[in-house]
Amino acid sequence: MTGIIDYGMGNIHSVQKALESLGDKTIVTNNPEELRKCEKIVLPGVGAFADAMKELEKQGLVLAVIDAIKNKKIFLGICLGMQLLFESSRESKGAKGLGVLKGEVKKFIPGKGLKVPHMGWNQLNKVISDKAPGVTECPLLKGLPENSYVYFCHSYYPDPKYKEIVSATTDYGIKFTSVVWQDNIFGMQFHPEKSQAVGLRILKNFVELC
């Protein structure tokens, strides 16, 4: 069972429908008890960093997320859901993130033809992993051709402190981190649930992890 955390921050149904179309069993909930029963957890989210943290705190979900990660559940953060895993964001001064990944979230600087938000289809450049013998790439990117297109829709991007968690980058004015992977934690700045065949392949890899 995959628990999709519903904390009032936007479009969660697309993630659910995409996972279910791949045969996954899902539950959309904000109940920590229900989440405890799940093997996999998805933290989606669109909106503002500080508001999202406030909602997680208000609904008693901060501990649930941290516990799930500590208990080695497969954890996927999407878009804002990934950014929240970091320590802080320049979007909201003073607001602390969950801090399970080291680093901060930064903003694209518009100019010289660079429009912000970064909106539309852009490519993933996979980063070769040397984390374990025989594992050369993030398991969620398995089977994806190099430079696959995925759908982005964001003004902020993560800047991890430790570069070994970077599993893919994308070019938009700068080279930014678009996929992170650390042990049981996965994060994506784009929307796999909106990325047609490529996105469904990523989610299939996620479903097949356990």
Partner: protein
């Protein structure tokens, strides 16, 4: 590299596609989900659904439809038409829309843009602008040949119209676009009322003027009739995306054909 987007637009009335879609082999060309699936297969980059009834009674139908679309297609889509306030936006986003497009309400209550983008994030707030050329205070007449003075910055001015193009606002389109972007809009959907339906091409002067003056993406709309029109809007006028309706609905070109043409011309597209 970020690619330029090609976006089919569907007009919806009471949950059905209007302005007849003529695809071969569709069981029900009025079913938005069926049509969306065709565009999905043609590698459309996004879809826009505009509810043209937009009456209070029909909101429920629209919400049901949005849920149905979200269940069936895994690509981004925008819903617009008749959005008045934060709760309308919340309902559509909760039903599965990725973005909402606000037009008249944004002009009447500009603070709605700020409130909505603070709450839901700029990336899901599209401000739609319907603009008409005004020359020396004489509206609607094109005094020069279309797109003739692209080299020099255009001296043209455009007026914003609301309520489906029926009501002039005295707002100047470029100024309004800048204002909307400052208030937190994540994207501008820019329709030329002069060129819409003409098949003469997008209004390149208008598109260029807005695109040069905002730092958010601009979707050109109105006037597509030939493959070159897409190239001109994206390449010459600086649009980030092109929207078209009848051209695709009547099967004159598929989305894929447009993208193949653009690729051959050196424009970055997803194929």
């Amino acid at each position: 590299m970020l690619t330029k987007r090609i976006i089919p637009c569907l007009d919806i009335k009471e949950g059905r596609v209007v302005k007849g879609v003529k695809f071969l082999g569709l069981r029900d060309a009025g079913d938005p989900v069926e049509v969306a699936k065709v565009y999905d297969r043609q590698q459309a980059d996004e879809l826009v659904f505009l509810d043209i009834t937009a009456s209070f009674e029909n909101r429920k139908t629209l919400i049901d439809l949005v849920e149905d679309i979200a269940k069936n297609i895994f690509m981004p889509f925008t819903v617009g038409g008749g959005i008045r306030d934060i709760s309308d936006i919340r309902d559509l986003l909760n039903a599965g829309a990725d973005k909402v497009s606000i037009n008249s309400a944004a002009v009447k209550y500009p603070e709605l843009i700020k409130e909505a983008s603070d709450k839901f994030g700029s990336q899901c707030i599209v401000v739609a602008i319907d603009a008409k050329l005004i020359c020396c205070g004489v509206p609607s007449f094109r005094l020069s040949a279309p797109n003739s003075n692209l080299q020099a910055p255009s001296q043209d001015k455009w007026e914003v119209f609301i309520n489906g193009g029926r009501t002039p606002t005295e707002l100047e389109a470029v100024e309004w676009a800048k204002n909307a972007a400052e208030l937190g809009a994540g994207e501008i959907l820019l329709t030329s009322m002069d060129f819409d339906g003409t098949k003469d091409g997008y209004d390149l002067n208008l598109t260029r003027a807005v695109s040069d003056n905002v730092s958010i993406p601009v979707i050109a709309s109105g006037g597509a009739g030939k493959l070159e029109h897409f190239y001109d809007a994206l390449n010459k006028a600086g649009a980030d995306a092109c929207l078209a309706a009848s051209l695709f609905h009547y099967g004159e070109f598929t989305v894929k054909q447009v993208k193949e043409y653009l690729k051959q011309k050196g424009v970055a597209v997803r194929l």
